[in-house]
């Protein structure tokens, strides 16, 4: 826990999200999970009943009549005989009934079973969702308890160093408050896209260069490729530095590499493409450099925008992929109750 330096701050995670709050959220989600589990048990009960009924209805027409005990009121039974064993009066719902044979009845029941199963399936998915959510909250809580730190650092360093005086900082605070807020949501996706595009272009360009060296025919194409190379060199220092500091070489980009066998006759179009994309790429990388690291696993970087820092994003230790994932889908499902599952009134049949 070193003291905050001139550039960048170190905030304990616990000050952003208190442990109790996180625990409360976790227990709330646990409660929801329990509700859903109950619901699922109920549905499972229907399914079991339905299965029993199916086997009964299948068995009935095996004999012409069955000797049974007929319930008479709540307490009494008397012996009786079940005849017309192949005829069932099936309740369809909404007070509609119909005469069916045993076989048709079984079909109806099977269809019911299908709807029930699909409902159970969706419920299971919901429960899974809630569970990831709950584990995310629990993680946050334990991280807050452990005293995990959130480290933020200035993006525009030069400017920050220049503006040493308190007055200028005050001005900057206001400015960054505004721009940071805007940048938070809207540009996030664009940045991401630009980042991926620039990386792709880089890879393609490297392959292009290799190809150019391989195919040493001394043709016009080679010269064109040299132009491309020049472009690549120009932007490379920018791009590489950016790659090392920012991009942690995600796996999904690696697999684009072998895609390279670009036919020579396409080189011209490729060059055009890259000439344009190189520009956009340098633009993108310069605009992206600082803030991009840093998809924070915690929910709201916006919460801190009112501090006197430019929008920098967050670096937090102990991050897992899981958390970033849950972060995405958590907000909607947490704030908004899930839709009521229409349920089939199987008990009424």
């Amino acid at each position: 826990m070193e003291p905050p330096q001139t550039k960048g701050t170190v905030t304990p995670l616990a000050s952003l999200f208190s442990e109790q709050e996180a625990r409360k959220a976790a227990s709330y989600v646990e409660e929801r999970i329990r509700e859903k589990r109950e619901e699922m048990n109920r549905l499972q009960g229907f399914v079991d009943e339905n299965d029993n009924l199916i086997s009964l209805v299948k068995k009935l027409p095996e004999k012409l009549h069955h000797n049974i005990m007929v319930p008479f009121g709540k307490i009494a039974f008397f012996p009786g005989r079940l005849i017309h064993t192949n005829e069932c009066l099936v309740f369809l719902g909404e007070n509609y009934y119909t005469d069916r044979t045993s076989k048709q009845t079984v079909d109806v029941l099977r269809r019911r079973d299908k709807t029930l199963q699909s409902q159970i399936h969706s419920l299971k998915a919901e429960i899974d969702d809630f569970q990831t959510e709950a584990s995310f909250f629990a993680n946050t809580a334990s991280e807050a308890a452990e005293g995990v730190l959130e480290i933020r650092e200035e993006y525009e360093e030069e400017e920050e160093e220049d503006s040493g005086t308190v007055l200028q900082r005050g001005v900057e605070k206001e400015a960054s408050g505004v721009t940071g807020g805007e940048a938070g949501e809207g540009e996030d996706k664009d940045d991401e896209f630009a980042r991926i595009m620039s990386r792709l272009n880089e890879l393609e360009m490297e392959e292009e260069q290799e190809e150019g060296e391989d195919g040493d025919d001394g043709s016009v194409e080679e010269r064109e490729l040299d132009v491309v190379k020049g472009l690549g060199d120009k932007t490379d220092d920018n791009g590489i530095g950016y790659e090392e500091s920012v991009l942690e070489k995600p796996q999904y980009l690696q697999k684009d590499q072998p895609r390279g066998g670009i036919p020579q006759q396409n080189a011209e179009t490729w060059r055009d493409f890259q000439a344009t994309s190189a520009v956009s790429r340098s633009k993108a990388s310069s605009s992206v450099v600082g803030p991009q690291k840093i998809e924070s696993p915690i929910q709201k970087p916006e919460a801190k925008f009112d501090t006197n820092k430019a929008f920098t994003g967050l670096i937090v230790e102990h991050t897992h992929n899981l958390e970033t994932n849950t972060h995405g889908k958590m907000q909607p499902s947490g704030s908004q109750p899930s839709k009521p599952v229409s349920r089939f009134k199987a008990q009424r049949r």
């Binding site: 509609y96 119909t98 709807t115 349920r343 089939f344």
Partner: protein, 130 residues
């Protein structure tokens, strides 16, 4: 003296706004329940319709009216169920619109309340200093 009057006015305003908000929230909860009910009914009716569609022409269809089963024409039953589904869908749409409306109102009310509260607090703080 005038400031305390203003304060009281503000408080009264805030109270009435809070009441309004509670009312709206109650409406929303009611609508949500209604919506749930209709969704369930819609699902049931759709199941019935599916089954009726699968029945052959000459099948006997009955409707339970009170304690008795009344025999019905298959076509008639089919038409009835369809009409019912239409009605429920319309109701669902209506309820959804009303929920949407109320939520918008709720948000605006909430904002107004926040503003009022801020003003109240600033006034109180000023008073405490004076």
């Amino acid at each position: 003296m005038s400031s305390s009057m203003a304060l009281r006015d503000l408080q009264r305003d805030l109270e009435s706004k809070a009441n309004d908000l509670a009312k709206i929230q109650k409406d929303i909860a009611k609508d949500h329940q209604l919506r749930k009910k209709y969704t369930i009914q819609l699902g049931e009716n759709e199941l019935v319709l599916k089954e009726l569609d699968l029945l052959e022409e000459e099948a006997n269809v009955y409707k339970l009216i009170g304690p008795v089963l009344v025999k019905q024409d298959l076509a008639e039953a089919n038409a009835n169920v369809r009409k019912r589904i239409e009605y429920i869908s319309a109701e669902l749409k209506r309820v959804d619109a009303s929920i949407h409306d109320n939520e918008g109102q709720q948000n605006s009310k909430r904002e107004a309340m926040m503003k009022l509260q801020q003003r109240l607090q600033s006034i109180q703080a000023g008073k405490a200093k004076a």
